[in-house]
Symmetry: C2
Subunit: 256 residues, 2 copies
């Protein structure tokens, strides 16, 4: 048995998220099927996270185990990209140590949420149109306030079975990028739906519907019902997954 | 009667080009229908050019005549964008002098052609994938050679009824932009299919299939069959249409 990491990206518009669900198109299932065809054995991949329906990933990792002789990873990457639909791109496959884990070993994740006040015909499905001009400075003030906290219960989806709602944010900032306004948020972990509800709440600050004190109150209430509306999936991208330094350095004679 | 210019952009993927054709979806027809609904009169628009099926326009102008009282252009722009599909964006409508002409008055047009050696899941339908790494310096040398000529018969679609194949290029250059390679070409006019066949021919130079002398031979032959393959529509954008200086300055009391 040998374990491999797949480094990929996908446009989530046509998928019901990453994780396999019965009778629904998911990125995981699409990737597993293509790998199984090429490697001629059943393949189960474990993703670094679970993006929701319609959410995009510009940087995503998944691991899988391969039984039998090692294979030419570069050749498989090439064939995989021929087999996969054009909304999934595989950058690389590399052998890792047998206990490496795409999800548990990731130390941080970065998400970006794109909004625009304009109609952008070449960015359809990749941003969310908003119909007001938010105050970016105010939203960045609100983002700084958010970083003072670590309990994000107020932004968690109800009824999920996680043990803790503690997240250590290391970055939260809005930037103007061309015709778009982009919120970048980095944390060791995220709760389900968290980025979309945080983005919606900060946009409420930006349009004057919510004060900074109001934001503090929402966070401190630890009640999901208090937060702003969750933004639609199309504007959300998982853009960076971090592993410890040297994680991908070859430790054993493995690549052929 | 009053004449108006519409400034717009469109993603051409879902249209059989700009110009109305019987029973086919075109940008012209879509725009005319929306304007007619809002202005409550039949509207015929004249475009600044005729993009082919699947070709995009990031900058496009069209004029139309309106009979009756002047209308609030800003209100119509807003309503038009609500009525039009998301792949067409109207930036502005402004009144112009009665003999202004979107096509005849344009003094230059700029097109850009996007290629990439990579799979880009967030740029689907907006670039053309190529399976070789072209030599960009060689292609720019070829682009400079192209600018020495003005008869582009070799790159014109056969059997069109234009009177002359003379085009005065003012820019032709390849640039690396992120994961893409972009060819920008500017001319007072373009022949049908010209940008796509010029791009294909320059890519032949870039991959070593054609020499600079070979390129000169193709241009000097004035025979379409000599040139390289025409690139697909999806990578092509009309990005700039130039009118004379001061063209849009109000000359009469017209804007309300």
């Amino acid at each position: 048995m040998a374990r491999y990491f797949v480094h990929l990206a996908y446009n989530g518009a046509n998928y019901c998220g990453w994780q396999t669900q019965p009778n629904l198109p998911t990125v995981q299932l699409t990737l597993e099927k293509a790998l199984a065809t090429l490697l001629r054995q059943p393949v189960a991949v474990v993703g670094c996270g679970r993006t929701d329906t319609g959410v995009h990933a510009a940087d995503f990792y998944a691991h899988f185990d391969h039984h039998g002789d090692p294979f030419d990873t570069q050749a498989i990457v090439f064939k995989l990209n021929s087999l996969l639909p054009p909304d999934i791109a595989v950058f690389d496959i590399c052998r890792v140590r047998d206990n490496a884990h795409a999800r548990f070993d990731a130390v941080a994740r970065t998400y970006r949420y794109h909004v625009s006040t304009q109609r952008l015909p070449f960015r359809q499905g990749l941003y969310c149109r908003i119909y007001f001009s938010p105050d970016v400075d105010r939203m960045n003030e609100a983002a700084r306030v958010l970083m003072e906290y670590d309990d994000f219960t107020s932004f968690a989806k109800l009824h999920t079975q996680v043990k803790t709602n503690i997240c250590h944010l290391s970055h939260a900032h809005w930037d103007v990028e061309g015709d778009e306004l982009v919120f970048t948020i980095r944390s060791n972990r995220f709760l389900r739906n968290m980025v979309r509800s945080v983005t919606g709440t900060l946009l409420d600050v930006g349009r004057g519907k919510l004060t900074i004190d109001g934001l503090r109150h929402i966070v401190e209430q630890r009640d999901r019902c208090a937060a702003g509306v969750s933004m639609p999936a199309c504007g959300l991208f998982l853009t960076k997954v971090d592993y410890p330094d040297g994680y991908f350095d070859p430790e054993q004679p493995q690549q052929q």
